[in-house]
Amino acid sequence: MAVNEKNILNRLYFVAGCMFIFAIAVVVKLLSIQFIQGDKYKALVEESNIKEVSIPANRGNVYSADGSLLATSIPKYDIRFDAITPTDKRFKEYLTPLSEALSKYSGKSVSYYKKELQKARANKNRYYLLARNIGYSEYLKFRSFPLLELGPYKGGLIVEQYVKREHPLGEVAQRTIGYERVDDEGNITRAGIDGAFGSDYLRGTDGKRIKQKIGKGQWKPITVDNEVEPKDGYDVYTTIDVNIQDIAHHALLEQLEKYEAEHGTVVVMEVKTGEIRAISNLGRTSKNTYYEKRNYAVYEAHEPGSTFKLMTLMAALEDKKVDTSDVIDTGNGYKVFYGRGIKDSHGYGKISAARAFEVSSNIGLATIVDKAYAKNPERFLNILSQWNLDKKLNISIKGEGEPMIPKPGHKNWSRNALPSLAYGYGLKITPLQTLTFYNAVANNGVMVKPRFIREVRNLDEKIEVFEKEIINEKICSDQTLKKAKTMLENVVKRGTGTSLYSDYFSMGGKTGTARTEYWHKDWSKNPRYISSFAGYFPADNPKYSCIVIIHKPSVKKGFYGADVSGPVFKKIAQKIFTDTPIVDEVETLEVKTAKVEKEYKTYYDIANRYKTIMPDVRGLPIMDAVALLENMGLKVKIEGVGVVENQSISKGTKVKKNQTIVLKA
């Protein structure tokens, strides 16, 4: 075998030549892919290899007035196990320790988990459920379990996180706290406060991050920072007082259960501010248990019955069509108006208008109103309209019921409509509207709008503060108010509500027992009622107003407003003034003192400065002005109530003793 350099080189050139040709072939193929097939393959580039991922913002919390958490969003986790991912060696090594850890966590036996995990691996289950709906601290436990601690790529740990809205107080006021829910078709249900303030405050804005696809179902963020940082939702501070809410909820629940009623609602409102301190709405399930079903207080407009008598009588009193002492003949408990009979539970005979109210005489009220307004029902309806009773309150929560008060010309209007209105039939208003009116009476005629929200905050920064909103500065004269208050107190002292009377605390209110579904044929066999009680407490300086409405109590057990709804009211009133540490009497006193002091200061300033010269008393409370001027020796005549608007002797004029001055309010 004669090998020499020459023939090695010749063969080498041959081999190198082959390689060079091979290289040329590669380049040619490369060029053909790029230029001949190029468009075809460029079109195959997955367009969706970059996507924008939204990073959900944390929804704000809902707090009670005293800062307790009512609704909050918390992360929840589902833990699953990919039984294929771990290597054989690891699976065998960790099977027992993992099963032990799982057994310790759940209480099921070690052998159960061993069997299950082996089965999952044998079945190639890559999605074996280990735990569902667990909290963060439990999730951390799973992450420290043997094998799972190796993470998703070695240990087969699959963690699915989602956010759940939780109500730490449980069922209490759940319906009012509410939720915001988006279904598969994108329809949004917004219930309660959470729903009403969801889009504006609680929701926040989602962040954005651009991710690139790096394989099947795997996406990697392209940049270090988010493109848009998520902005968390604001916190909403409600007016709900957890203690009062708790009292109201349980008082209502107890009564509903006792009377096997269909549903009921209770609302407690702070008189001065209109802040809702408690709201509970309980409906019955098919299993005869109760839960926060719908926001009856807000949405359910119904025939109010006797609680409406306050409005009708006050309208007539304010219009000076009747006085409380006027005698009304209620007869023997049955009277026909325009061919239709109206019944009372007893025959009361000839009684005063006030007494008719106290005993809740339908005939009495119908007679008063019919006599006064039969010829001019618009006059009566106008007063009701001035009191906003025919209009929605426009509160923040969605789904407010539409009130209905018929007018002449309306399809529901007839000659009988007026006497019916007088005792609360033939119209519809919501419980919250009734309460708003009673609250106005308690609040010296100032009608304030019910409020559920105090303020919206981002940590310590106040985003928006919701001030008191006044619907009507003064619904009627002080005289009318005084009369109304006396009557309401008397209802409890000697009227339909005597069973609620207590020596220890005072209250004013009106019972109501309205028939419902009386237009159904079976009513006489199976009568159904709506029992209600609306009022305020304490009577002399009302702090809270409250309404209790219970629908369809079991008639066998009782149906009168005083029996069914009244006790709920009483319980709430009693408990608030005995149990609630939150009730801060000092605070209210301070507010009053400041106001009174200011008035006193003005009073004394004027009193000291003016001895013989007429002062400007406009803007002063009329009673203050009277005292001031009488101390100067003047004789004062007054017209109207409230603050002085006009004085007959102008400011700066010299006055003599016993000179007469007329003040107009």
């Binding site: 075998m1 080498l12 091979f22 590669v26 380049v27 892919i33 393959y41 195959l44 990697k220």
Partner: protein, 400 residues
């Protein structure tokens, strides 16, 4: 400093330069691929991959430097010593081979203490080539019969091939082809070569039949490369087709100038984007220009290997240069051919560019051997130049 390096490194300076250029270039695609690996791996540290690659290259250059300092005549003896060691390593690999995550092939052994995996077949290839070169140079003046060559040549060759075959068909095939090429270059009788080529094919068929008959003996692997070849032939939709398609999409979307460093999209979908399909990713990021640059680099390296071989002072020198040098180029060509679908998917890396320690180190060792041969030539030339003046033609061919 510059002088110190230049004085210390011997051999063909252009080979040094080409290798250095390729090594520097290799950081770009490796770093580009690192972002996904880091993200999926959970560490999130892309820099770690860069450091690791740097360590591989650093060690590679250290090996290259060390080897090129050895007089190449030592390799004759070393290859004799190394052959039995290679056998042992290959057997150990089969017995306790580590499967690298995902890849179902026992090709690696874990080196104790430093905790790195090592692909023994790559070492076996280099040692075998040197061994064959030694054998050919030994018999250069004899007329050899086939019988005489069985024990010293064919037995070791087939032991190596048989030990690699179950886990890595493509490497076995390349080693076989390269051995044949070297034997051809070394003047081994052509008719014997043809006969052995035929015998190799028969042996392979036999092996496949056994593997098919007893699938438990050789799980998965046979199926994998059987299906690879079948699919290359008939074009059914498989994982390989998916890879090839992504590779072609990468090449097409790269265009002439490429998408730019790190901007490859297909690297996300090509599982072996930093090794097997790195050429496609390089074209996607650096365009046709980048691809041609690499091709030119390898062809230039081929040219320098031919030159070194030409100038080598002994037959062993010539053959050993070709034996270890041509496989590098061949492997590079195969890798590029796979990316452009000129060749079925083999799993061969792109020498010096792909990440992966073993491949880099063995390539560096091979280059070290080539440099050692060329260093010897320089020594001789220095002595000669003291005797006679420089031949201008000589200088020209030294410098291109």
């Amino acid at each position: 400093m510059q002088k110190a390096i230049l004085n210390n490194i011997k051999g063909d300076k252009l080979i040094w330069a080409i290798v250095a250029l390729l090594a520097i270039f290799s950081f770009l695609p490796v770093y580009s691929a690192a972002s996904n690996l880091a993200y999926v791996g959970g560490s999130g540290n892309t820099f770690a991959f860069l450091v690791k690659h740097f360590m591989h290259l650093f060690l590679g250059f250290a090996i290259m430097y060390g080897v090129h300092k050895l007089p190449y005549r030592y390799f004759r003896g070393l290859s004799m010593v190394m052959m039995p060691l290679v056998f042992v390593l290959l057997i150990v690999t089969i017995l306790q081979g580590t499967t690298i995550e995902g890849a179902n092939a026992s090709r690696w052994i874990r080196i104790p203490f430093i905790n790195m995996s090592f692909q023994t077949s790559t070492l076996a290839s280099v040692v075998l080539m040197v061994y064959i070169a030694r054998y050919l140079s030994k018999i250069k003046d004899k007329t050899i019969t086939f019988k005489e060559s069985i024990l010293p040549l064919w037995i070791p060759l087939f032991i190596v091939l048989a030990l690699i075959l179950p886990s890595n068909f493509s490497t076995t095939a390349i080693i076989f082809v390269m051995s044949m090429m070297l034997l051809f270059l070394g003047g081994y009788p052509l008719r014997y070569l043809l006969a052995m080529g035929a015998a190799g094919l028969v042996g392979l068929t036999f092996f496949i039949l056994i593997a098919k008959a007893f699938p438990e003996a050789m799980p998965n692997r046979v199926d994998t490369w059987m299906s690879r070849i079948e699919n290359f032939a008939n074009g059914e939709d498989t994982e390989e087709d998916y890879q090839i398609e992504k590779a072609k999409i990468a090449i097409a979307s790269g265009g002439v100038v490429g998408l730019g460093s790190g901007k490859s999209i297909q690297k996300n979908f090509l599982p072996q984007s930093s090794s097997d399909f790195i050429f496609a990713i390089i074209i996607e990021e650096y365009g046709l220009i980048g691809g041609l640059f690499l091709m030119v680099m390898y062809l230039w390296l081929l040219f320098r290997i031919v030159i070194v071989s030409q100038k080598a002072d002994t037959i062993f020198g010539k053959l050993v240069v070709l034996g270890v040098g041509l496989p590098i180029i061949f492997q590079a060509m195969i890798n590029m051919a796979v990316a452009v679908e000129l060749f079925p998917v083999t799993g061969q890396t792109l020498p010096l560019i792909s990440s992966g320690g073993t491949s880099i180190w063995m390539t560096c060792m091979a280059i070290g051997i080539i440099l050692s041969v060329s260093a010897k030539r320089e020594e001789i030339k220095e002595k000669q130049s003291q005797d006679e003046g420089d031949n201008p033609l000589e200088i020209l061919s030294e410098t291109i």
